[in-house]
Amino acid sequence: MGMLDQLMYGFSIALTPENLLYVFIGVLAGTVIGILPGLGPMSAIALMIPIAYGMDPTSAIIMLAGVYYGAIFGGSTSSILLNAPGVAGTVATSFDGYPMALKGQAGKALAIAAISSFVGGTIGVVGLMAIAPSLASFAVSFGPTEYFALMVLGLTAVVSLGGRNLTKGLISAVVGVIIALVGIDSQTAITRFTFDRPELYEGVEFLIVALGVFALAEVLVMLSRRGKGGVRKSVTSLRLSRGELARITPPALRSSVLGFFTGVLPGAGATVASFLAYSAEKRIARDGKTFGQGNMKGVAAPEAANNAAAVGSFVPLMTLGVPGSGTTAILLGALMVLGVQPGPTMLTDDPGMFWGVVASMYLGTVVLLVLNLPLIPVFAKVLNTPRTMLLPLVVVFCVVGVYGLSFSVFDLGLLAAFGVIGFLMRRNDFPAAPLILGLILGGLMETNMRRALQISGGEWSVFVTEPISAGLLALAALSLLPSLVRALRRRPSAGTPAEVPAPADGPEEQAPTPRG
């Protein structure tokens, strides 16, 4: 079978000692950063991008993908031990993981998390291999019109799933596009919004915004919470009995499939997937009532789902070149800096990269299982890093990352400004993922819009007369509908007191941003 051959080819790339080392470094660094409360996969990837500069693009994305799932796994560690999920994608894990830790079963919970993650990752990779080539061959026929529509869909999907407030999400997205348009216009060479600062001619580097809005804002949030947090539980025995394994296997398998397809959808990342899987399993399980009190199925389901979704979210990124979530948007930004533009032709033009990444994902999940799990007690020590020292350290890493990219103090000022903006956004419930997606898609959107209009001779109706583009735009409009309906439905009852969020709320209610 051709696909297996190609996967073997991928393994031959991923298994070179150099790339193996990068998988290793990526997973390790991702786990360590992900364990730190507050720092999620987006911050982890943004912090690691400076290291990826100058690397071979294939190795770079292999490493960054490792950071991604390492960070998700690390997030579940802090969810279980600390009840402080560093990552929105692992919030659902803490529902049952932390109660398990309270019962003295922290080790078991961690082992379940690792095994379920492995199952999720494996099924995700199989799904990726099955879907990506056909999606890519379909997308090869896409012209600029379709791409423009696709990007609009990507933005609206992230906005509608990203937060509870549609207006704020849209504002974030629009501001992201506004930032993207700063600099010399690529087509006409007219400077836009540069205020005659030569530093801005090239536009605002996406890494500055990513580090500012995620990592630095996270630091300010930690500071504003004055170091309050849960109590850390220590790691106990990691051993699982055969019966326990048998109990978690079916939910892990079901959740993996569910998670993968959720991840493929634009906008729905690991967060939505984990909540969906958790509530689905809670409904299916005969002992569903004990969910929330330390049921191991309640750990297995979200963990399998968020890892499967993390892999699934690579499908739109690698085949369409349009990221479906904030995290893959950052990955896309990193790839573009490295001079790679993923898209439907990548599979044929650069199969080494595509299949290498697929194979490395599989290796990454294996590394997570065989290496990270036994090392968990060591990693848990990272949680001992005093926050008084952690905060300045993260700042230093951000500063080094930005300066190493542009060698400009002006950009350090921008970094600080975006940190403040990100903090204010966080405080006022503006989701940050649409901003970063808008920033990365903004330039591409304008380029495609121009090309489409060039082809159509300036006829704006082309976006709604081309069938695929019209369908995508209709989907984009539809994706905003649920939030609109929710907003309208809430209006009559807006006077009633806002209750403490009930655990049974919809997944979107609980997940402020899809971080995965």
Binding site: P50, G54, S79, N83, A84, P85, V91, S94, Y98, P99, T167, L170, I171, V174, I178, D185, Q187, T188, R192, F193, L220, V221, L223, S224, R226, G227, K228, G230, V231, R232, G292, P386, T388, P392, L393, V395, V399, V400, Y403, G404, F407, V409, L415, A416, G419, V420, R426, R427, N428, D429, P431, R450, Q454, G458, R491, P497, E499, V500, P503, P512
Partner: protein, 223 residues
């Protein structure tokens, strides 16, 4: 989002033990840290609208490209974006604060917020070690009572670090920043602090310069 997530993550635990007595509202901090820098939709709407108007003014001053006929002028998209942003800002202005459970909305919402915050503490107490919250040798971050001052100072320190970055050079500026901030935020083991503050910049510098070929500024130091 982690702040939110934590509060929400603890919600099921609250549901599991609904009768748990609530602690009296905290009076340690005058301005609840959760409330610092939160603004009403009206304020946010006005600020964003002002930004949108400023942006539109600039967008309409932008010259058109006339050398060749192009369907999309450089100013086309910015003008649309500015208009959309203005509309969104107006929508935000008329939003009811409660619509999102924002804390300044009503005392009820505020109580709900602090209740969900407190439940984390309550969970902690079930550990039979009530002081564990802060007893890990980790004091409250920072020194000011007012969180807003603390944030302001932190950002100011970052700005100072950035400003001195090229003049002092990476190693000196970073050692200074790391050491003083860690000390200021309340880390008490001064020797550890000093070692980290001196060793880490050197290690980073070496890694960046020789490992990744990224030249960081040397500043006052000769290398």
């Amino acid at each position: 989002m982690s702040e939110k997530s934590t509060a929400r993550g603890s919600a099921p635990a609250t549901g599991a033990a609904p009768g748990r007595p609530r602690k009296p509202r905290g009076s340690r901090v005058p301005v609840l840290p959760e409330r610092a820098f939160r603004f009403s939709p009206r304020t946010l709407g006005v600020v964003i609208a002002l930004f949108a108007i400023g942006y539109l003014v600039l967008a309409f001053q932008m010259p058109d490209y006339t050398a060749v006929q192009v369907p999309v002028q450089p100013a086309t998209l910015p003008r649309w974006l500015g208009a959309v942003l203005l509309v969104l800002a107006v929508l935000l202005f008329f939003q009811r604060p409660q619509a999102d459970g924002e804390p300044e909305a009503a005392p009820v919402a505020e109580a709900a917020e602090s209740a969900s915050g407190k439940s984390t503490d309550a969970d902690a107490d079930t550990d039979a070690d009530p002081s564990a919250d802060t007893a890990k040798g980790e004091a409250r971050l920072g020194r000011f009572e007012d969180t807003r001052l603390e944030i302001g100072l932190f950002v100011a320190a970052l700005a100072a670090y950035a400003a001195l970055f090229e003049f002092l050079g990476f190693i000196l500026a970073t050692a200074l920043y790391l050491g003083s901030m860690t000390w200021y935020l309340g880390y008490r083991r001064h020797l550890v602090n000093a070692v980290v503050a001196i060793a880490l910049p050197f290690a980073l510098y070496a890694g960046m310069t020789w490992g990744l070929d990224v030249a960081l500024p040397t500043g006052l130091l000769p290398f």
